[in-house]
Symmetry: C2
Subunit: 337 residues, 2 copies
Amino acid sequence: MASITINHVAARAGVSIKTVSRVLNREAHVQERTREKVLEAVAALGYRPNLAARALASSRAYLIGLYYDNPAASYVSDLQFGAMETCRQNGYHIIVEDLADGQGSQKNDLDSLLATVSLDGVILTPPVCDRLDVLDRLDQRRLPYVRIAPAAHFERGPRVHMDDRRAAYDMTGHLLSLGHRRIGFIKGHLEHSATPLRHQGYLDAMADAGIAVNPNWVQPGNFSFRSGFGAAERLLGLPERPTAVFASNDDMALAVMAVVNRLGLSAPRDVSVAGFDDAPIAQVVWPQLTTIRQPVTQMGAVAAEILIKGLPDPSRQDVLLDFKLIVRGSTGPAPGA
Amino acid sequence: MASITINHVAARAGVSIKTVSRVLNREAHVQERTREKVLEAVAALGYRPNLAARALASSRAYLIGLYYDNPAASYVSDLQFGAMETCRQNGYHIIVEDLADGQGSQKNDLDSLLATVSLDGVILTPPVCDRLDVLDRLDQRRLPYVRIAPAAHFERGPRVHMDDRRAAYDMTGHLLSLGHRRIGFIKGHLEHSATPLRHQGYLDAMADAGIAVNPNWVQPGNFSFRSGFGAAERLLGLPERPTAVFASNDDMALAVMAVVNRLGLSAPRDVSVAGFDDAPIAQVVWPQLTTIRQPVTQMGAVAAEILIKGLPDPSRQDVLLDFKLIVRGSTGPAPGA
DNA sequence: TTGTAAGCGTTATCAA
DNA sequence: TTGATAACGCTTACAA
């Protein structure tokens, strides 16, 4: 397994290893002719610089950390996908790490982690991106990081996010355009940053349409199927039943569909149902769910890109990405509209 | 950022760096007294060995690769979770890599990857675990690997898997015990290794119960919701409708439930529905899905453990893990039973 | 524009 | 049982 090193390349190209290094790192002041010789030798030998040696000798490690809380969530795995893609294109690699506070000494764990493996930067997914102890430690070590959709403390580091309020506004607008007037809304988990934003988008759209929102139309939820189930029962049990229900995420929207079916009603004929997230389940129900697709994969890609190449617009510390309104079968014209 | 190195520890403990190294690597021939001094210095200084330096100087890199095809699948992210956990406990880290054959030179990509980052081993998830070009390249580099639930070529490297036939046998048995006799079965994707095994388990259970299987009871599918939908329509449209349908995965089982609802029937009152996988969606439908839980997280954990500590039983090249039959609301007594 | 020599923080060799 | 000292493969001063 004697692997090909920079020395072999230097020997074959008839130059010093320093020159090879210069070519590989795209440094200036290398004669075109020399450069070609080196590149030819690299290609002929199939040489690849060793990551560990690079990391040891320089400040760059070509390694990016992806710090999780719940690694099994589909949101996070989409994020990872996007980050991986960007890393691969740029010769970087991803080390994943679970920061879920398990057995005790969390602080030491993170410090060990950072002391052990040298990284060029870290991507922080929610809710890890909001843990101040994590941010503090990264700052201490001067390790760059990008936060994905943080809930607060926006001044701390670059962030990648989308406009939740606007997305909810647009979805409500979609329902309004179908002739719906009595539109129910199920809120998300109170501690999640998106919850008030989505709620506000709904309220703004209703206000702009000149509709007075009946307080009963807005029900609490916590993003779980179960909570959506209860909320849907309350909504659809109202004397004047809403003709559409907009749930703050897909799990709860699915619960609404379940309640609709149990009541002997049908979506979208009697009740239109809309969700948020475009989770995999959104396409594995019948009718398929109208929802908002978050640019999760793109968020991962952009986060990695920021760490590798810097912010696209250095005057801004955030990157705002577009969502997409996905209209499927679960929403339709209001009854009698 | 001057980090704490082995030299600091050696100085503080009043020994040479080699001795520190010996203690840290649990080598023999270190006096108990010296060992204690070193450990005390390590603790006092909060010293953590640098990964890159280790990888460069030794054969061990404390790094395990996790090679994917589709990184966004919930199956794979569960696997990753398990592997991460084991790695964390043993001071290892995981580098994830997407091997989906994208833009052309796949062979070179993998070679670059292996030449660039030194790993102690690789976990191969399906379907990557069945790609002979990948196995060949790993063998060439003498890089250990573990295959997760491979479909063929079992002689090539250690593998971690579960008994799909037995699981399908047990699920069919569950339906039989509820009094069902006309039990439909939806097959999976033909190229997936689990497909014939699950089918066989169903057939064996029916045979053992002395029931002649009507050929119409077995319908093709390909693991997609859509394919399950078609299969369910054919099954439930039979003159003598099956009272239970066992789908080879959860997505297709959900499609069965959708068809049941569309026909104005109800599960499990009119038709019992069973799935396979215990995907997240299994709990986000109503009624919740009776299914088989694969030990996916455990598979990841065991795979990592094999790479770190070797096979538990060196006389066997495989580890067989237990599944679990999860009975939820979608299955019930046969009508009139 | 190119090369020499000195690290980077470990482990491995071999002598003490 | 311990310790100098030389790798490991690369980058970074500093010269030439």
